[in-house]
Subunit: 335 residues, 2 copies
């Protein structure tokens, strides 16, 4: 059995920088036509100069493939009208992080709905720049995303022409919020279609399944799966593939992030096939994103075949999702 995906897009990727970028960016550019690259470097991608330099560093290791890195800038109070006008044609979204909520978010916002931020939202709306948000509060870990929903609603209502992407949603509450406002969109990761907190901490503790937002309950996972499998037009695949060196995941106090990039398309195909929804996979991994973000992706066809593949234990010093496990689909050709 074979299946083709055309022009796949990963609308939420972490390439990091330096050696890590050199290792992981080609693992994405190999199978994807493009990916939305998160700006939370240390320090973050704050302006056009940072963006251009980072994009060049990514292109240096992905130019062998037919691949576009779609760039983001880190949301901060210095985003004046002038700065926004300058970056407008170079960014696909601006990414807002609440301060301290995840990896390298210490430069994030402390008061999302401040007057300064609202002025920036208004300017972004005027200029047609999209807003991506890591939507979590600092509350109890299982409540953080659900408790963030009022923020999405307030911004969506006050700025009805601002396109807002609820990044890597993990809850029923987010799935339900999505359709309340026409300007709300969402990305969903691979692992949140599969795992719950039981997989992370129900039996043994599994550092390589620990990410933010943390995986929730069965009913949450099922709500996300329903959105993805139905090809819901406001939902794109965003892997949030987030590499950390093995030691940073397994030592005491493990870093958050699941590394899924090299096996994302294969496992998505497995999930959609198992659920008899293969006809909607193209929407989830490409056409929805093309329409939401207004992209014209590189032409690339991934031919997958239903043939077992054993996931490597490591890519470089990074342990991937399903390391050592056998998955049902393999990549046959990329053209």
């Amino acid at each position: 059995m074979e299946f083709q995906i055309h022009n796949p897009l990963d609308m939420h990727i972490h390439f990091r920088d330096e050696e890590m970028k050199d290792l992981v960016a080609p693992l994405t550019s190999w199978t994807f036509s493009g990916a939305l690259v998160m700006p939370n470097l240390v320090p973050p991608v704050m302006n056009l100069e940072d963006l251009k330099a980072y994009k060049k560093r990514i292109e240096a290791v992905t130019s062998q493939d037919n691949f576009t890195p779609y760039m983001t800038v880190f949301f901060h109070e210095g985003l004046t009208r002038e700065v926004l006008e300058e970056i407008k044609d170079y960014v696909t979204t601006i990414k807002l992080y609440p301060a301290w909520i995840t990896t390298n978010s210490e430069w994030g916002v402390t008061s999302i709905l401040s007057d300064t931020n609202k002025k920036i939202f208004a300017d972004m709306q005027d200029l047609g720049i999209m807003l991506s948000i890591h939507g979590e509060t600092g509350d109890f870990v299982m409540d953080r995303e659900a408790n963030f929903m009022p923020n999405y609603e307030l911004i969506a209502k006050e700025f009805p022409r601002l396109k807002i992407v609820m990044e890597h949603i993990t809850t029923r509450e987010a799935a339900q919020t999505l359709d309340k406002y026409p300007n709300l969109y969402a990305t969903i990761t691979l692992q949140h279609l599969e795992i719950t907190l039981d997989d992370v901490a129900g039996w043994a503790l599994k550092p390589h399944l620990f990410c933010k937002p943390i995986a929730k309950r069965d009913e949450d996972r099922d709500a996300l799966l329903e959105l993805a499998l139905s090809g819901h037009p406001k939902v794109s695949f965003g892997s949030d593939s987030a590499p950390h060196p093995q030691h940073a995941k397994e030592c005491c106090g493990c870093a958050a992030g699941v590394f899924t990039a090299p096996i994302a398309l294969q496992v998505l195909t497995e999930i959609f096939e198992k659920n008899e929804k293969l006809e909607n996979l193209q929407k989830f991994v490409s056409t929805n994103a093309i329409s939401i973000y207004g992209l014209t992706p590189n032409t690339k066809t991934i031919e997958l075949e239903k043939k077992e593949f054993q996931v490597p234990e490591k890519y470089g010093n990074v342990v991937p999702y399903k390391a050592g496990e056998t998955i049902a689909w393999s990549i046959k050709t990329i053209s």
Copy 2:
């Protein structure tokens, strides 16, 4: 400032066996008059012969202290009336584990309320043998204890003279169930008076705070704290101190268990002092247990002083709770 605790008892301890036992048992016998030793060795303590041999192995490394290991037997279907009569005078409780629910529980019961088990409960009731239970179902990790409550209620109701200890309770639901039946009792650990899931997996993943049952929400922690601080007469301290070698906690797929024994009394004193309930600490760590289990403990007085103590990074190859942190109370003398 100084404070004395008399005849402290730890009503739930894991000594394991061999080198690990040699390391950790003296760390308990040093500060406690006695401790209830869990039977989940590999294979478990199943009968009088196992019990006597294990007790001897414990005494061999604790005899320097004025200390009694109170023994348990692993609940299993072979506990006939004859076996129960034989072990009656040697066990303090029989410990029931649902199969596969925690470390070394694979010999546990698969159907708690089976006819065979009910016959054993009836015999234990007749013979005056207490029943300790690890009360978790195989459901979603945050629901396991709450979902187990109907089992406690059914057993408590059907065997009203059987004393049942809900071990290491972690939820509001368990705290509420406690007073529904006169024959239900509970133990509470040190860590469950302090931590929630946020501490285990809210920010970084913390293997050394991972235990079963997993720490729950603020409102659960607060319910347990209220029981302990009030000196509730049906509640004893049971540390569930559970050592694992460092590598088994920090490698991929970390073992469950928090090692608290060597600092339990100091931290309990800190908690009770901070909450202005020092007058109830003696109940929680000794007199309640004396009355619930009918013990006559060795005479031992622990004199603590309010003087900072830095918790060692390791005891042997075991990383303790609060490793490297400074706690407010120290042990001054033991007599």
